[in-house]
């Protein structure tokens, strides 16, 4: 699981880092190998030329002794004890380069080794007498413990077999190679760092749409947008399509569940009403059953409200202008309370709007206004004003008002659920719950009119 939760960019970077390192190491090894072969073949050519030169000057005296027709200690074979030596062994005598001084070296036995293939490239031009066999390479330790590289050839000279060996110091190969490899290693390291930096930039750039997508999804969750935007890189498109399909399905499921709850609730209410109506006043226990009916109704209303609010926070925030809602509700309540002369003052600017769904605004205002109409003596006042990013709505009445303790009880959720007396409380707690769903608040305080003032704070739109 840890692998699945690890950072995507870390994974990309680690993978790229490993690939880059392996590629650089492999190329360094390959280059070293090629360089080694190149330097080696240069040295070999030089030694082979020396062998050819020696063989061309080789003569056999009357005594069967080998001798050279001239001097063969040209550079670098003239430098003493530097590793550049040659040696000719015949059946009767041995000739040595001057650079050996009094020292000597043993030739490794190469008689059963096959001749190497010719080196790549054209044959050296100074090869005056072509050798019958190509010289055989060998490595060994020379005088003074020096590592030497030999080329050894066996040539027939006037019926006598002579073995000609030429040597070069191993350092002549390794020295230039080491130097070249140091420079190469630095270049490759710089290249590696550059590649990883480029990879970093690429990963950053490449993953930017993923970050954008994350922000889009966060917006969906916060309710700022309904779906993830479709304009995405081709690789992300299937993901956003699936996401949007999922979001759509979710919304549809939620709506369906809400409708079912609503249908269930309303489907229960008619039989409940029938039960209540069918119950004769004088029947024994009628009052108990009536309070049970009322309790059931309140439970249904409570959970219906819950189901509705659970579906709230729907992506598209609504905008509801307050003035017409207040006017409509006042109209309804004035009609319902036709027997009571209520003087309603509502002056709300037509520009004041809240970021709530109309249905919820109706619910909050309706509940509070209904209470105000029920409890007022003759006056109800509704006013609203913007306060920063919220709207403050005040509903006042000139009724008996509430004591501090009653106020505290009135807004407690479900406080009245189990009580049968109608009045303040149930409607107020519903209103408070709704207001809080919109990140608003409901507060109660004594009104200037003498009764209760209900203050509802809602987000402005």
């Amino acid at each position: 699981m840890a692998r699945a939760t690890a950072s995507l960019s870390k994974r990309l970077l680690i993978a790229a880092g490993i690939f880059i390192a392996v590629a650089l190491i492999v190329s360094a090894v390959l280059i070293a190998f090629v360089l080694h072969r190149f330097v080696q073949s240069q040295i070999d050519q030089r030694l082979d030329a020396q062998i050819a030169f020696l063989s061309s000057m080789l003569q056999v005296g009357k005594d069967g002794q080998l001798k050279l027709a001239g001097t063969a200690d040209g550079p670098p074979f003239d430098r003493p004890m530097r590793g550049w030596y040659w040696k000719i062994s015949g059946p009767a005598n041995v000739l040595r380069s001057g650079s050996l001084g009094s020292a000597d070296f043993e030739l490794p036995d190469v008689s059963n080794r096959p001749a190497p293939p010719p080196p790549p490239g054209p044959p050296p031009p100074d090869e005056s007498r072509p050798l019958k066999d190509r010289p055989i390479p060998a490595d060994g330790i020379g005088p003074g413990g020096q590592m030497l590289h030999y080329r050894i050839a066996t040539v027939p000279v006037a019926g006598v077999r002579a073995t000609i060996a030429a040597s070069a110091p191993r350092d002549a190969v390794l020295g230039p190679l080491g130097e070249a490899m140091r420079t190469l290693a630095i270049s490759l390291a710089v290249l590696g760092v550059g590649l990883i930096a480029a990879m970093l930039v690429q990963v950053r750039l490449g993953l930017r749409p993923v970050e954008r997508l994350r922000r889009a999804i966060a917006d969906v969750r916060a309710g700022a947008r309904e779906r993830v935007p479709d304009e995405q890189p081709r690789e992300l498109r299937p993901l956003t399509d699936e996401l949007n399909a999922l979001l759509g399905e979710n919304a549809a499921n939620l709506e369906r569940a809400r409708r079912h709850v609503s249908n269930l609730a309303h489907g229960l209410k008619t039989p409940l009403a029938t039960m209540s109506v069918a119950l004769r006043k004088e029947a024994p226990g009628a009052d108990d059953v009536q309070s049970l009916v009322l309790l059931m109704d309140r439970r249904i209303r409570h959970h219906l409200g819950r189901a509705r609010s659970a579906a709230l926070g729907s992506p598209v925030r609504a905008r509801t202008v307050l003035a017409p809602r207040v006017a409509d509700l006042v109209l309804v309540l004035a009609k319902v309370n036709a027997g009571k002369a209520v003087d309603v003052a509502h002056h709300i600017s037509p520009t004041v709007a809240v970021a709530c769904e109309q249905q919820d605004v109706d619910e909050m205002l309706g509940n509070v206004l209904e209470n105000a109409f029920a409890w007022c003596r003759s006056k109800v006042s509704v006013s609203a004003g913007s306060a920063g990013r919220s709207v403050l709505l005040m509903i006042d009445d000139d009724g008996p008002g509430l004591s501090a303790e009653q106020m505290a009880n009135a807004v407690q959720a479900g406080r009245r659920l189990d009580e049968s007396a109608p009045g303040f409380g149930f409607g107020l707690s519903i209103t408070r719950e709704l207001a809080e769903l919109y990140a608003g608040a409901l507060t109660l305080r004594p009104s200037e009119l003498g009764g209760l003032c209900v203050e509802i704070r809602l987000p402005a739109a």
Binding site: G267, K269, T270, P271, L272, T274, Q290, A338, G366
Partner: protein
Amino acid sequence: MKILLVEDDRMLAKELARALREENFAVDIAETGEDGQHLGETESYDAAVLDLGLPKVPGVEVLLRWRKQQRHFPVLILTARDGWSDKVEGFKAGADDYLTKPFRVEELVMRLRALARRAAGHAASRICCGALTFEAPTGQFELDGLPLKLTALEWRVLECLIMRKETVVERGLLSDKVYEGDVGTDSNSIEVIVARLRRKIGKTMIETERGRGYKLTAAQ
């Protein structure tokens, strides 16, 4: 007092009609929006109880059609939907009151009496005519401060007369308000009921206007 009850739930309609009849109301039941609309447009009612959640023609539509046909009897909406938005919609269509299911029958009866009384132009809940008083909220008649025992038919006639006291109530209207839709009316029986009422409240209070109808009057 005659009520039109438009309710698609047969059980509730039956029980509600029984409960309202116990309160002496005459009740006509319509189980569909179409029937309700038709009855409301052709018969004379003191008030209607209208369920909003009717199949096919919804309650609000029925109400809109009544009002369009200048039928102005008071309408009480009965609904399972208790949202304020639903209420506002109902009232904008011309409703006068609402009750949400479930409700107490006493509450419905009280509201229907108040609606009918106000529609008849009586602001006060007590209506007096000479020695006779009618307590609208309870539906109780008193004569000289003593409760008057009346049969359902007698109550309907007297209620109709006292709501229109000092004016002539036509025999046809009286018969409309007293008998339910499916009962064959017999204008002779109105005379019988009036005769019985005269025995209970005194001969002079109900005057017969020949060829037209009856008038409840305090004038001796």
